[in-house]
């Protein structure tokens, strides 16, 4: 293995391959920055081009794109509150408040440090577990999918404990939206009003662009001004402070990376959930959870380390069973097949070196993207000084074009605009958008997992306790539920005692 690994590294570092890797990094950064576009679109456009390429070049370019997307997506999340990609949406929560305080450079510095570290962690984990990929993937059946989805929803619900009721309302809306479309279990079609567009459900990327990017631009247009509230407070040289802060919070990096790798490996759950859960977990573990959302650097470090670690996780089911761990991986699967690599039980044995070179490309590209990000910080952070009247129309136009480009579907553009208004209203009336996003993504997985488990278990609920994995998940869910009530109970208890005393 070490031998092949070395050969793969030498292969990727050869000038011919390096050019493709670098091209991939640039494409990834640009596609990451533009809201709506993203890894999936970039890889889909790349797919036909790779047909004439050597496998190693195609993998270098794909790895370059996948490794750099996160950096690009988070730059727009921080500067514009418009995440360039789904998984970067969690970075908005604390990244954008920092930009408003004039500390965009700090935030970008943190991203540039946390994402390659997360990527590195994910790759190391991947190399260790690669031989066991099969067994890991087989641990998750319909009951486990259901429980993972419930766990995700619970994690996010309790992290919005400050306004629990509003969080529940947002989560409820998200669940309702997730049920729109063709029901893959029973074959019925729900809430589509006869429209073919809604047959496939409410698509995630246009929703995210609306909920975050469009909503923010509507706000900026209505309230006027610039992103950074006080132009004189903008520091363009905070990048190294961001780098140092990330290294100081190495525990957050590790927690985020573990979350990213694990959740990335579960098909149908995917990167966006991974980064949100990493964020929620860090918030929950912090001594001052209420200060999250106001510009805590840990609120960037956690999702960003998960963001790059998740790609390694998502590779496991993609390679071992041809089941994509994420939308990007679905397209990557196409690149594999176009080059005659059939995913399945023998792929590790047959193409070990190709897989190592992909892994190596992924790591190298995250590092390259960070270097580019850090060196451009000065110019990027200046965007927060651009007036809203100029910025908003440009961002809205670019986002909507990006949304249209995903599937060439006009319906996606309309949806992004409608959800944009919903997002603005939620912003205006202080409803958290996180539960909506998570419920929208996980609602379908939860429903399908539950229905299939009931069919497999012939209606017996004990199927949710039939494996070690499912029992562990049930325990985790119960623990996080009770934990979240501990502070609440303690407060009640303290109040009662002090009440007794007085």
């Amino acid at each position: 293995m070490a031998d092949l690994l070395l050969q793969a590294a030498v292969g990727v570092l050869s000038p011919g391959t390096l050019i493709f890797l670098f091209a991939g990094v640039l494409v990834g950064l640009v596609f990451g920055v533009i809201p709506g576009l993203g890894g999936t679109t970039a890889l889909a456009l790349l797919l036909p081009l790779t047909y004439g390429m050597e496998v190693s070049h195609a993998f270098a370019m794909a790895g370059g794109i996948m490794g750099a997307i996160a950096m690009g997506g988070s730059i727009s999340a921080i500067l514009l509150n418009a995440p360039g990609t789904g998984p970067s949406a969690a970075t908005c929560l604390d990244g954008h408040p920092l930009a408003k305080q004039g500390r965009a450079a700090d935030a970008i510095g943190a991203v540039a440090t946390a994402s390659p570290l997360g990527g590195l962690f994910g790759v190391l984990t991947l190399l260790i577990v690669l031989p066991m990929a099969r067994d890991i993937v087989l641990l998750f059946g319909p009951p486990e999918f259901f429980l993972v989805a419930v766990f995700g929803i619970v994690t996010v619900a309790i992290s919005s404990s400050r306004n629990l009721l509003r969080g529940l309302v947002a989560g409820g809306i998200g669940l309702m939206l997730s049920f729109v479309g063709y029901d893959t279990v029973h074959g019925g079609v729900r809430y589509t009003f006869g429209s073919d567009y809604l047959w496939d459900g409410i698509p995630l990327i246009p929703s995210l662009v609306g909920l975050f990017g469009m909503a923010e631009m509507i706000r900026l247009s209505i309230e006027g001004g610039t992103v950074a509230a006080d132009a004189s407070a903008v520091k363009l040289d905070g990048v190294w402070a961001g780098v140092r802060a990330t290294l100081r919070h190495w525990k957050v990096v590790i927690r985020g990376s573990i979350t990213g790798t694990l959740i990335g490996a579960i098909p149908g759950v995917g990167g966006t959930v991974a980064t949100f859960i990493a964020y929620s977990a860090t918030k929950k573990a912090d001594r001052d959870p209420d200060s999250f959302g106001t510009g805590r650097i840990e609120g960037i470090v956690a999702p960003e380390s998960a963001n790059n670690a998740k790609d390694s996780g998502a590779l496991l089911p993609t390679l071992a069973f041809g089941i994509p761990g994420s939308a990007e991986m679905a397209v990557f699967l196409g690149i594999l097949m176009l080059h005659g690599l059939q995913p399945g039980p023998t792929i590790f044995a047959d193409h070990e070196q190709d897989i190592y070179s992909l892994i190596f490309a992924l790591t190298l590209s995250a590092v390259l993207a960070s270097i580019i990000g850090i060196s451009c910080v000065r110019w990027l952070a200046a965007i927060t000084l651009v007036k809203g009247q100029i910025l908003a129309p440009i961002v809205i136009a670019v986002s909507l074009v990006g949304v249209y480009a995903i599937n060439l579907t006009p319906g996606d553009v309309v949806l992004a605009a409608v959800i944009g208004v919903l997002g603005y209203l939620m912003l205006r009336f202080n409803y958290p958008r996180l539960p909506l996003v998570i419920a929208l993504i996980l609602g379908e997985t939860a429903e399908r997992g539950f229905q299939q488990s009931m069919m497999i278990g012939r209606g017996d609920l004990s199927i949710f306790l039939h494996s070690i994995t499912s029992i562990t998940l049930v325990v985790l869910i119960l623990l996080s539920l009770t934990w979240s009530f501990v502070p609440l109970l303690r407060k009640r208890f303290a109040a009662r005692i002090s009440g007794d005393v007085s």
Partner: protein
Amino acid sequence: MPFNVRSVLVATLLACVACGGPGEYPEKDITVVIPFNSGGAFDAYVRALAPGLQKRLPGAVNVLPKNLPGAGGRRGASDIYRSRPDGYTIGIFNMPGVLIPQLQGMSIGYELSKVTWLATLGYDHYVFVVKGDSPHNSIDDLKALGRNVTYGATGPGSTSYVATNIVNETLGIPFDIITGYKGSAGYLLGLIRGDFDAAMINYSTARSYLESGDIKALAVFGTDSDDPAIADAADLGAPELGQIRVVRMMGGPPDLPDDIKSMLERAVLEAIDDADFQSWLESTGNEAHPANSAATAAAVVEMTEFYDKFQQLLD
């Protein structure tokens, strides 16, 4: 052969008359619609075929694959159907995937009997599989279980779901289907994990797992079996089940002019024989089973009659 300016001129003139007027087809790029996302088997097929197709068409035009996913392939199919019959939009059809909703009477925006069929690229036959270490070695073993045999499939109305229904009804096996798996790779994984007893799966997805021993085949449909241990439709006494397979057909909108149709038909058939395409097929374990325009149209009629007979099992 001596070069003769006059005969070339005459031939060109005749060719122009034959194609009926000015502007020889093709004079601009040709779009091949793929009704699925990039990354699937249909997508890979078209993309592997496109360079060969481009080489075989006169003029310097490009053949551009275009993914139009949505509504289980119906969006792409109706886009091909509604395009102008000028030969610049053609596409690939997933049969019987797009046929079943038509027979179910859904409003789908196309009528397959009116499509101008160009050629068949090939088919993917179905394998009746159980887990590799399953104690059951024949369909009779499953029948003898004394309970309903459980199967995994994608959603109701999908090819895998309808095929499972038809095979079990025809062979008289009591059964339940666990639906909702994502694609054939999804329920293949479910079978290996042990979610259910058996599955009907397309061969190209199953191949490497059959070779590794993760799953084993009890029967094949849509092709003849050359292994005495594996039954085919005829061995099971139900030859009509030979219709059960996924067929990849190329077609264009209704009323495509005959000259354009024959040019495209010939180009597609020649592109299938292209050495690059053949080596791609081999490396991915796919097999080409080309058929011309007339044979494809006949196969559509035959397939429609077959699934129509099982009307009540379609949803």
